[in-house]
Symmetry: C2
Subunit: 567 residues, 2 copies
Amino acid sequence: MELSYTKQRSECAKGVQKSELVIKNGSVVNVFTNEIIRTDIAVEDGIIVGLGSYEGKTEIDADGKIICPGFIDPHLHLESTLVLPSELIDCAAENGTTTFIVDPHEAANVSGAKGIDYILSQTENVPANVYVMMPSCVPATSVEDNGAVIDAETMKGYIDNPRILGLGEVMDCHAVLDGDKNMTDKLKVFRNKVIDGHSGYLHGKDLMCYKLAGVDTDHECCDFETALEEVRAGFQVHIREGSAAKNLDAIVSGIVKNKIPTQSFSFCTDDKHITEIREKGHISYNVRRSVELGIDPIEAIKMATINPAKAYGLPRTGAVAPGYRADLIIMSNLKDMEIEEVLYNGKPVKEQQNGKKPEIDKALFNTVKIKDLSSESFKLPVKAPECTVIEVIKNQILTSMKTEAVPVKNGEFAPNETYSKIAVFERHRATGKKYVGIAKNYGIRNGAIASTFSHDSHNLIVIGDNDEDMLAACRALAECGGGYAISNGGEVTVLELPVMGLISNRPYDEVKQRLAQMIETAHNMGVPDGIDPFVVLSFLSLTVIPEVRITPRGIFDVIKNDFLNQS
Amino acid sequence: MELSYTKQRSECAKGVQKSELVIKNGSVVNVFTNEIIRTDIAVEDGIIVGLGSYEGKTEIDADGKIICPGFIDPHLHLESTLVLPSELIDCAAENGTTTFIVDPHEAANVSGAKGIDYILSQTENVPANVYVMMPSCVPATSVEDNGAVIDAETMKGYIDNPRILGLGEVMDCHAVLDGDKNMTDKLKVFRNKVIDGHSGYLHGKDLMCYKLAGVDTDHECCDFETALEEVRAGFQVHIREGSAAKNLDAIVSGIVKNKIPTQSFSFCTDDKHITEIREKGHISYNVRRSVELGIDPIEAIKMATINPAKAYGLPRTGAVAPGYRADLIIMSNLKDMEIEEVLYNGKPVKEQQNGKKPEIDKALFNTVKIKDLSSESFKLPVKAPECTVIEVIKNQILTSMKTEAVPVKNGEFAPNETYSKIAVFERHRATGKKYVGIAKNYGIRNGAIASTFSHDSHNLIVIGDNDEDMLAACRALAECGGGYAISNGGEVTVLELPVMGLISNRPYDEVKQRLAQMIETAHNMGVPDGIDPFVVLSFLSLTVIPEVRITPRGIFDVIKNDFLNQS
């Protein structure tokens, strides 16, 4: 890291020379003293050099405005936005987020180190600080069929990269608790950096063991009691408010009610779509909503700035003080927190969105390889009186495991408005592995929805009420290199995601329009409100989120950490 | 750094195996939530593995007791104690301090890298965590005549030592503000580690410039207003309460009155003598006194534990949580905070004081080399009607610069009960450099006091009211390799400090007894209460503490950063 100090900046700090930029007379949030102090901010060459009375070559009048540090999102995945990473960064930056700690584990699960390099290169010259956590679970667990393996040896090649802050969300908690050698080797590689957790369901002695292993953070808490238990154990808890998982109200209400200090809390989005960012904001939403729930505005700003900056040891980030980056938000006032201007590196972010897209490695295209796709692939004979059913839950990525009698016709499962057929096909190496099961409350009728974006192995997942539409949707994705597909009574619509089967190379607005149409179609086909047809589907294979999932190898009981014995 | 996690510890965390030690039913201070939670603490192989309900091979009943993390002193000098470093560590550890961040700048100023290696080796196997800051100012400033130069190149040799946390107190503020190349090179070497400051007198734009240079901490604030200004600028402020400088009451009262968050504050001792530690405690005193002044007890404990641990990125230190070091204090209650037991590495500190002293490098002996010491050396002719006078201030290491008429006899300065003669002789290379001046309010009559322990260059300093006694005291020290000497009407008493002229190799109690006698003698000779004869003398050469000092090159105006033109 370069020293903030230079002779030139020093002269500006001393007021001997005029700084490039001086923001005059703003009411500046001091994250160290919890004060709001009326002062000028002098900025030279992207760094804050002084607070006090300064003159600048350029001056901004901030009289009556609140100025705070740019917000930090300490845990998110850029792949979920379906478009080139810079599009989400640009959008979130306009909403005040100037630092992003991203975990490229979708890209890594499909394309390994090349996937990580893709995220690094696509975010190198965006107008924001983008750091990367090394995906810890590629594959997510030993039961996965994904596209690549990232082991401790591969990780060592990244340890000296200053943009790699540590080990990404350690989802395979069982491997940690069991002292699995591969996992321990990875923890050792990053023992002097930050290790992100992914628990939310460990308690008591299991949680102790998980913390002992060196895990520093968690963003999976859904309720206040779990968050409090984790903070007591020494975790930094990122309060998540994304498109699928919305945990903020529950946790923040508990903090307010119980008067818990906020120092060990930060905010994150994990997965939040650009449209929702445009409508509601990014980390700015978490800040505003927390204030509505009763958090002091300065504490809320600290949760979005200095708290995550300290948790990750981010250089010169998260405060308005000499030597810190001039990543700043100018707000209307502390009540509405309307963001009027965002500076990155001392310049408005909008002026720095250059639209240049680095070239994409050809190896990241044509990644969908499936063996033997035919109408036979979807048969599901039912022998037992009751079957295991994956129940989806509105506004949650959690599922419930049920054992229920399901409709049967001619000895085969017969989907209806309550029970859908769901199937997963391994799609990276054409191994032919696949499994068919039953989902509840997804509601689809007269068709099928398929996706190659399905956490974390990103196999081809499809859900529907008849085999013909399921086959048609899958075939469409196999042919175009991946994406989202709907087959509605034989009529197929596709959103192509040719980069790793995860990401489009078309502009966001084009993708958004197409996606909105497809989501509308899905809801018209019976998917109820409160269930995003593609997002919910994308989590139904994720073997680390309770309670039950489906993979190409079978139905997986997350709590027992094992496949069910199916008839 | 090793991973806290091991298979063995993991089994203990899960409760599958009994831990080596379980502290049962204590009321444990949680520095993350500000709660006190009644729980067991399980310890295996020196590390806390879990909190909850545990069984141990050994169990301690802590019912009704308060348990908190061991205290941290983030800034102190071990040399000031005059005895082998392990003696201070042992004494402070019994008083609850289990982590020390030491700056060996006295040793380095006399013996360079060998002095630093001495402190590293002498503290390697003590029952406490001892980290070292690389002395930044050896020599203290460019106007000094000390024993060695430690430049950026020398420092690079220590950068990978995990016990070296960063750059020690950057006293030469002017070099920082002026962008001096040597200083900038040193700041660059440690740009990714912690840089300790030493200001207390910079304000406004100068303070901005100093912070911009990368300085992280300061322990020199004497009043609340300065401390607040520094915290606002992003400094971690260590509130100092040592033997000479006592800043706690002023700063803590301000924090309480103004309700400033305590997160950016820690406690330090800087220089505190063993006798005072035994009588009043170490960091434990700062904690107790802060509570008396109105700080919440848990906040006070955080200022002594997690705050400095975070400021220095100390691994697994400063909290009672899984994965953290089992450095623990068992207290009577939160009111008296009487320390009943201190554990380091999960074992009582007293049981781990092995008394083994590493051998001392022979190069550290016989370091006092003075050219031309005779009665002529002390002549001080007075020509001007008024002279510059160094006024000592009770209970302070600050001095005032006065210009006053002084008593004169036969054209020479004639000391009396108000004005003493003071002289400094270069003693490392026998260059013959020396200077004679006038001090006020030291009060010595019928004799002289001399010392080779004189910050930071540790030249030979002597103060007295007649040349014969001054010569006798100096000669005694030149002959014995350094130490403290008093000559009282020709009768000479010496406390030998043969290691670098700074440290005795005799046991503390022997040194203490001798020193107490000599201090009593000094007070009997007129040195008033409120002035420790040797400690105050030891600071009169330190060219970075306002307002005025004396060195072998002349009288130094600290504010103007230059020598006076003397007649």
